[in-house]
Symmetry: C2
Subunit: 262 residues, 2 copies
């Protein structure tokens, strides 16, 4: 997988930047004595970081750092499955959930030339979805008339909801042969009815971030199309407050920590 | 969908041979007054049947009728998704559940040049799976050592189990990018954990029988490869008994009703 540019699916387990250990033989802090003896990885909340050159990425000079940083997670996490599962120009797609991942999926979909609908609970996020993110339509998943009108409509739904929600409702809005792309990790199992995917040959498909090669491709795409994450900059001393606000979904759409004064 | 040879996914609803009505405008028994006024379709338990020529299929003279009949349902139901979802020569695939659908999936997999493993509860069906159906390996899903050894092994699992079972266990046996092909309609929703398909980019995919064009293709493939369903012939007066035995899974692997004396 690594040689194929898909380090994120490494059969020996990928090495995360945060809260991980150097468990691969060629790594600097590796120990043959076992995982607990391998050194921890260095994290990213710092001014400088030591990194294997194969795992660095090039940014175009035009890219604003604070709005580019979240692309390395929220951005690639939706870009990768949109490419892998065949999202193409002219398709009608939808994005469920409008946090960091969802906001980026809307921007990518628009930039790829798709007709993009946002699916959200209530209409609170409608104005932002249409005016700031550029979505073409909006479905309120709590309003039977609204989601009923979207039945059998979308080739793909990028489902970014990391909490319990109704998969049958999502499947119902997919067209025949449609794909429900799951990128939000819900902590509890979700019930799934056979009828919702068998009768019209639908698919529920997963994806986990992306590899270095595709991340570079995404960054180049973003620089070309001027696609960035909507962010709010915080200073290191504000991160506890920012954390609480992130948990409460009170952020549009990602915090970036300014580490320049560390 | 109909013009594309996929009548089974018709947007206006397909017309079944059994227990359905002629609800399409061009059909002989159609009524514009609504579904309840349309004539019922004719069923198949008879010596003769009137059928639109577009919905008839050609059988090679070499094909035994009793062993060919179940191909029109159990056969095409597994053949279609195996083709659509990319089962190819040299792949390691598995078949879960060994009834009418499962037995055909094993035969197709073997004929396509795959390495085929049967996944079943207990070892009762092991001998038949290997000797009669031609499977290459066997996994007992009730034995932790047996299914543990199959972790991350298969490109595809054809899951024909129409009852409650552990989807996470199936997902776990799929390799990275693997596909769990669901063709058994379980009456109750099955819980599905995000981790089981997100972390290694796995897919849970549905499929419903197949269209006329692909059914003909399958029949030609079966005639060429001499692939037939294992059947037990019953007379019309035995169908109540045969029904009870089918419910109790006491049939290898399908009953064929001999209607020649009707």
């Amino acid at each position: 997988m690594c040689k194929n540019g898909e380090e994120n699916y490494c059969r020996n387990g990928m090495t995360g930047t945060y809260n991980a250990r150097f468990t691969h033989e060629h790594s600097p802090g590796y120990s043959a004595e076992g995982k607990d003896h391998c050194e921890p990885t260095y994290g990213g909340y710092s001014r400088d970081i030591v990194c294997d050159a194969d795992y660095t990425l090039k940014l175009d000079k035009s890219m604003p750092l604070d709005k580019t940083a979240p692309l390395l997670c929220a951005g690639i996490t939706v870009y990768s499955p949109m490419m892998y599962y065949g999202v193409k120009k002219g398709m009608k797609i939808a994005v469920a959930g409008l946090g960091g991942l969802g906001s980026m999926a809307v921007k990518f979909g628009v930039a790829m030339g798709c007709h993009v609908t946002v699916i959200s609970r209530g209409t609170k996020k409608k104005d932002d979805a249409m005016s700031i993110l550029g979505a073409h339509a909006f479905v309120d998943s709590t309003d039977a008339e609204s989601f009923g009108a979207a039945k059998s409509t979308f080739t793909h739904i990028v489902d970014t909801i990391a909490a319990k929600h109704d998969l049958h409702q999502m499947m119902d809005m997919l067209d025949i042969n449609g794909k429900l792309i799951m990128v939000g990790l819900c902590p509890e199992p979700l019930p799934l009815q056979g009828f919702s995917y068998i009768v019209q040959r639908k698919q529920l498909v997963g994806s986990l971030i992306g590899g270095i090669k595709e991340t570079q491709e995404m960054l180049d795409f973003c620089a070309e199309k001027k696609i960035y994450c909507e962010t709010e900059i915080v200073k290191p001393e504000q991160i506890n407050e920012a954390y609480d606000r992130a948990v409460a979904s009170d952020v549009k759409y990602r915090f970036s920590i300014d580490c320049s004064q560390l």
